[in-house]
């Protein structure tokens, strides 16, 4: 499966692994599964991972994607790491509010603000 294109753009900045999505729509189950696996690998490769997931450019997101984010959050916490989300479009943020997931995720308006929030 080495030839499968990554669904994430990843770079490390000040000790924080900063992730953006390649796709504008995070709906397709196969893609979501791949995103979950890629994020799991990133988390597992670090001690006390610091992960920032930016939703810049993301227009649609399904409940399956929310499920993957919850799994990622649990994984980061189990490694005593920190997870931040940023750049969430207004309509997508409403999905977080409806599902009350805005209470379990640390969500910041911009990636810079999220970066500044890591302990």
């Amino acid at each position: 499966m080495g030839s499968v294109a990554s669904r994430l753009n990843v770079r490390v900045q000040n000790g924080v692994t900063r992730v953006e999505f390649v796709d504008r729509n995070i709906l397709d189950e196969t893609n979501i599964q791949q995103i979950g696996e890629e994020l799991a690998r990133l988390i597992d490769g670090q001690v006390n991972p610091k992960l920032l997931i930016s939703f810049k450019g993301v227009e649609h997101l399904s409940s399956a994607a929310l499920g993957t984010l919850i799994t990622v959050n649990n994984r980061v916490r189990s490694k005593e790491g920190q997870l931040r989300l940023s750049d969430i479009d207004t309509q997508i943020y409403e999905v977080f509010v409806i599902t009350k997931l805005n209470k379990i995720f640390k969500i910041h308006e911009t990636a810079d603000k999220a970066l500044a929030s890591f302990a």
């Binding site: 189950e29 649609h60 499920g67 599902t99």
Partner: protein
Amino acid sequence: MSAAGSNPSGGSSSASGGNAFTFECLLRDQGNDVDHVQAVVAEALEKHGYNDKSRWAIRLALEEAIVNGFRHGNKSDPSKAVHFGCRIGDAESLFDVRDEGPGFDPDTVPDPTEDENIEIPSGRGIMLIKAYMTDVFYFKPGNHLRMIYRKS
């Protein structure tokens, strides 16, 4: 709108009922067929004056409903299809999604916003459908979902 027999199979559309747009088809593939339905619906919604916010809400609800049909209803059995139908009018739209599974009781689905469920990674699809659609009905035995969206 062409009703040509490309996938999804059996797609047919008409402008019956005044200027309402109707379309129905059988979905067999969770990827391409769903994309096709979303494109057909999006075009019809735009023609009937649904704004960005409405189209966004309907797209999300349809995605959740169809994925639930494939995954939970049909248990991802590739021999089973999801039946889709819609009637899109100027004031309101109706969407039917029916799977070929045994059905379920939607009242038994746990509330994903309760503290004990909030970290469980599944079970939010129905909640989002109910949040974004004006009316939602499940016909017994629970494998047929009808969603109504009214412009506010």
